[in-house]
């Protein structure tokens, strides 16, 4: 079976088996390419580098709205959450559903496997 079919079958199995609660194991390398194609226009992974959005260096484990020198929306600033695999997964699927009023205009990443890969990559950014 070609690689991508295998992968699709794997994803489907994971999704049905996991029924939304478990997180599919993420692949940071695949996540990096998702990041580059989807997030890098607005986010840097370098510490201290804010673009249209705040730097995502060290995002896993930090509180919402905590990057110094970045002007957040009041909603993101006051969300009072800690970014971890669970909150990021929910946020990245539909940012505005979780933080209404966020100025991140990106609509969301619906593909659960891509989200898992992306979060695995974000976790490597220290």
């Amino acid at each position: 079976m070609p690689g991508f079919l295998l992968r699709a079958a794997f994803t489907v199995t994971l999704l049905t088996a996991g029924s939304g609660t478990a997180f599919a194991a993420g692949d940071p390398a695949a996540g990096k390419s998702v990041f580059q194609s989807t997030c890098s226009i607005c986010h840097s992974v370098q510490p201290g580098q804010n673009k249209i959005g705040p730097t995502l260096s060290g995002v896993v484990g930090r509180k919402t709205g905590s990057v110094a020198g970045y002007t957040y929306s009041p909603q993101n600033q006051a969300a009072n959450l800690t970014w971890d695999a669970a909150t990021l997964d929910k946020y990245l699927e539909a940012p505005r559903a979780m933080i209404p009023g966020t100025k991140m205009t990106y609509g969301g990443l619906k593909d659960a496997q891509k989200r898992a890969d992306l979060i695995a990559y974000l976790a490597t950014l220290k």
């Binding site: 580098q49 249209i52 609509g107």
Partner: protein, 459 residues
């Protein structure tokens, strides 16, 4: 039928009735919204192209490669646009100057229908191509082309350096700022209404008749530097593309340089920039012909521009844009044997301010002034389009009100269609050198004051 009902019917029929002419190209193509998974408002002020936000500039400089959209539509790089309008000028145009199939005044037209191919191919290449059909002469032509054969990002001491190349057909079509000409205000124009004759080379000299290669660098999302050159295409190619010569055919590649610096802070962005372009051309003698009998004319443009954008949280948006161009002309070829001097200059200033409420209701005020010494080589008396004193001077104030009901992420049919409805009024205090009897045939500048009501749709 009562009058209001009658005009309602007209509005309803407009998209169907194939009348004609006008207008400027537009952007904000839904193919991009689908590719990026972003609503139009992310990249465009007022949720409708072409005026770019900082994200829009990043997308364009990034070579139109940014992804993020999902599903089949994300990979279909096609969009279709149509503009229909109603044009009224303060005084009807003279009987012998009426565009074919049109009345002397109060014309409805299907101004243009454009197809776009736009998007990224992988992470390093992308582009935008526009093909336009206009009913004026019932012709199609290759409109704006901005291809990005290759772009990539380097890490320079923790900061991003993006390097890229462009291949385009109009100076400034590749520029990230809407202060410049290819995508500058007014974003929609009436082609049925008379327009001032004089324009600087950067705005109109080589557009769509040339091919330009440029190399650009964007450092830390702040400093933009670009350099390249333009050469006009052969008459054979131009005939096939449906575009004629502007000022002429280049005798050597015309250098083009652009530098800009942008600040982003809080919810604001501002830039200052400069441009340079020089061209040596054999003057045009017809749409597809130039002459080298008397050598070349030389044009040199220097421009400075700047802008400010307040984006807030999207509820209130305000923008200011301005550009000033000084042009030196050495019309050696055109002047030869005429007894007139060869050297002239031309200045142009354009500025506009806009305010948008919730990216839905907008109003823009614009000012355009062109001036210079009398130039009998380029401007001669002539009914409607000429200049009695051979001066290029024009002064126009433009006010436009727009309604963009869609274009937001929650909009109906997002991200598949968008619509802009607008009313634009242009008032001239000077036109082709004068206020009263500017053309030598008794027409006043204010006779060309234009009311344009338009509907602009894109899918």
């Amino acid at each position: 039928m009562t009058r209001p009902a009658c005009s309602m019917l007209w509005v309803a029929l407009l998209p169907l009735v194939g009348l004609i002419v006008t207008a400027r190209p537009a952007e904000a193509i839904p193919a991009f919204a689908q590719q990026t998974g972003q609503p139009c408002v992310s990249c465009h002020i007022g949720g409708y192209g072409p005026q770019l936000t900082p994200i829009g500039r990043a997308f364009k400089i990034g070579g139109y490669t940014q992804g993020g959209g999902e599903g089949l539509a994300a990979s279909i790089p096609l969009s279709l646009m149509a503009t229909t309008s109603f044009t009224n000028t303060a005084s009807a145009v003279p009987a012998d100057q009426i565009a074919q199939h049109y009345g002397a005044n109060n014309n409805f037209s299907l101004d243009q229908v454009s197809g776009f191919i736009g998007g990224g191919i992988g992470q390093h290449s992308g582009g935008l191509m526009q093909f336009t059909w206009s009913d004026v002469a019932n012709t199609s032509h290759v409109d704006n082309v901005d291809l990005r054969p290759y772009t990539t990002v380097f890490d320079v001491g923790g900061k991003e350096l993006r390097i890229g190349t462009t291949l385009n057909n109009t100076p400034t079509v590749q520029d990230p700022y809407n202060t410049t000409f290819a995508w500058g205000f007014p974003y929609v124009l009436s082609a049925l209404a008379p327009a001032p004759a004089a324009n600087v080379m950067l705005a109109a000299g080589l557009g769509q008749s040339a091919i330009g290669y440029t190399l650009y660098a964007w450092y830390d999302n702040k400093f933009y530097l670009e350099g390249g050159a333009y050469s006009t295409l052969s008459p054979w190619t131009l005939t096939r593309m449906g575009n004629g010569f502007g000022i002429g055919s280049t005798t050597s590649p015309a250098p083009y340089l652009r530098a800009a610096y942008e600040w982003q802070w809080g919810n604001s962005a501002a830039h200052v920039g400069a441009m340079y372009m020089h061209a040596d051309v054999n003057p045009a003698t017809g749409p597809y012909a130039t002459t080298d009998l008397a050598g070349a004319d030389h044009y040199t443009d220097y421009a400075v521009d700047g802008s400010y954008q307040f984006l807030g949280d999207g509820t209130h948006i305000a923008t200011v844009q301005a550009i000033y161009v000084h042009e030196n002309q050495n019309l050696r070829a055109t002047s030869s044997g005429s007894g007139f001097a060869a050297k002239y200059n031309l200045d142009q200033f354009r500025a506009n301010v806009s305010y948008w409420y919730q990216n839905t209701y907008g109003v823009t005020l614009g000012w355009q002034k062109t001036w210079g010494p009398a130039n009998p080589l380029l401007y001669a008396p002539g009914e409607l389009t000429g200049s009695n004193n051979s001066k290029p001077n024009s002064n126009a104030f433009i006010i436009e009100a727009d309604w963009v009901p869609f274009g937001k992420d929650t909009s109906l049919w997002a991200p598949y269609m968008n619509l802009k409805l607008g009313v634009q009024y242009t008032a001239y205090t000077q036109f082709n050198g004068g206020s009263d009897n500017y053309d030598g045939s008794g027409r006043n500048a204010s006779d060309n004051n234009t009311l344009l009501v338009f509907a602009w749709m894109i899918f």
